[in-house]
Amino acid sequence: MEKFIELITQMNSFDLIQVIFWGLAGAISFYFSIGNARVWTSISIGFFLIFLSQAYGINPWGHYQKLTAFHYIVGTVAIMMITHGFLEYYVFCRTFEISGNKLVVYMSTLGILAASAGFLIINPTPSPNTIRNIRMVENAIWVFLCVMNMELVRKIYLAIKGSDISKGFIAFGLVFLLIFLWRGSELYLQVFQWDRDWQDILTLMTDEVSDIDQYMGRVEFSREVRRYAGLLSGVSVGATFSYIYRLLK
């Protein structure tokens, strides 16, 4: 507990607020998944998993590299679950077919996470560079699937326009736009090796020199976009689920 409090006090206050908002959003979305139709389960579990992936900063065992890598894998699973949920919702809008049950979704998610953990356990401890690669893959998947989800959300909105919940999908569109900015800016920094992880690797492990000083303006801008978009994403997810909950009540 002491270590947990120590970690929190060491954390950047902005990052801490972000984690707290993702915690609230995760709690709301998880609660939403319990009382609602099966199609919502994947979506809400996905958003709940974002909190888990973001919580590595307050994880007392976060210094274990395998656990850090696991946080990023959880983040990848999160967006895949969300996308799966929106795809199912889109299929429902076109065919009105509702199949499967919640337990299968919960168990499948647990199974995927267990398999990911197993993958990390049976492989060598990931180096800081490997962890950064995993994080970059996560961000790439997030960016790609956010664009896809924005298109899905648009199509769903057009299909169900006029129903109580249709405006909730506009809110989801905003959520994915913010997540796209958040993850996109992070990916941008990673692709050009201007991210903090790479800077640490350069300083500690190599003799290479970074060109970050030449592009400090765009780096700072991207960092700010990442910070604020990340924070607003958490806020928007919590607000969107609260709004949808109210619409469906």
């Binding site: 609602n36 009105f96 169900i160 326009k161 469906l248 009540k249």
Partner: protein, 321 residues
């Protein structure tokens, strides 16, 4: 219509629908019946005259005065017995002589028809009947009254007039009608009893075949009518179901939005078409499906209102089926 003396009634007011013509004729024939049988329908009457079990006359007359006799009359009688659904049969036993006179009235040779009484010499006519030893019937009538005098070999057998049920011996009523202004006469003659006995319609017609044919035609008509009715009913039900389906789509669309129609279509196709709307178990399944889909789109309050409205619409519609 025919107005004939009743003689000795053997059966009266038997329901025709329970009778079969071949059996009736067979019974009257084997019982050597003499007299006549009348079949009274709503708009027509058929008289069958028997002489010692032989069917000597068959006459059909409808309300408009249209007449048929012989084979045609028997065919029409069979058709009427099969199709009318109502009607009564009476059987009256008469003497041979009177039966002969009835035959004359129905199918005999017409010597005078609608002859105004004041234009003829009634005494010479009566003399002629006597002199020629005519067998037959002299009918004296006005627009409102009618009387008949039956003759055998020129001698009156008896008098019959409307309002009486049997032959009378008094000529007073006949004379009274003859004295009325505008009185007319018909004179029908026939051959002797012995000659009439040579005729037997039962021998020259296949009653069983006529009956079977009428039954078959009627059966076919009934089947056709039933089929037509079924088709009409099916069409009507189909139209009503379509209207109900539209009503349901409007209600669901009102709450769910434009995807409502699609949800209804999908649930109807999964539950065997729109007939499930008027089937208790089918409607429950349909409603559960619509509710399940609506949960993804609208609030619980609106779902409750929508279900109430659907239940009301279905209950109303069911009373019309």
């Amino acid at each position: 219509m025919f107005l004939l003396p009743k003689g000795n009634p053997l059966f009266e007011n038997l329901a025709v629908t329970k009778l079969k013509l071949p059996e009736v004729l067979s019974k009257l024939s084997t019982g050597s019946f003499t007299g006549y049988s009348s079949f009274v329908f709503q708009a027509s009457t058929v008289i069958l005259v028997f002489e010692a079990g032989k069917l000597v006359s068959a006459l059909f007359e409808d309300r408009n005065g249209k007449r048929q006799n012989g084979f045609e009359a028997l065919t029409t009688l069979a058709e009427l017995m099969v199709t009318s659904g109502s009607g009564t049969m009476n059987v009256y036993k008469l003497s041979k002589d009177l039966t002969m006179c009835i035959h004359a009235l129905l199918e005999g040779e017409t010597l005078y028809k609608a002859q105004e009484l004041k234009l003829i010499d009634i005494n010479s006519l009566l003399k002629r009947i006597k002199d020629d030893q005519l067998n037959g019937c002299l009918r004296i009538y006005t627009q409102d009254h009618s009387a008949m005098i039956f003759y055998k070999e020129g001698n009156p057998l008896g008098f019959f007039h409307d309002g009486s049920s049997d032959i009378e011996t008094s000529s007073s009523e006949s004379q009274k009608i003859a004295g009325l202004p505008g009185a007319k006469i018909d004179l029908f003659t026939t051959q002797s009893v012995e000659e009439i006995m040579g005729i037997n319609l039962l021998e020259v017609t296949n009653i069983q075949k006529i009956w079977d044919n009428s039954v078959a035609i009627n059966q076919s008509e009934l089947e056709k009518t039933s089929k037509d009715r079924q088709e009409r009913d099916t069409k009507l039900v189909s139209v009503r179901l379509y209207e109900l389906e539209e009503q349901v789509k409007v209600i669901v669309g009102e709450y769910v939005g434009r995807v409502g129609r699609g949800i209804v279509d999908k649930e109807l196709s999964e539950n065997g078409g729109n007939s499930c709307l008027i089937d208790d178990a089918g409607f429950v399944k349909f409603l559960n499906g619509v509710e399940r889909a609506a949960k993804l789109l609208i609030s619980g309050t609106n779902i409750k209102l929508m279900v109430e409205k659907l239940n009301l619409a279905i209950t109303d519609a069911k009373s019309g089926f």
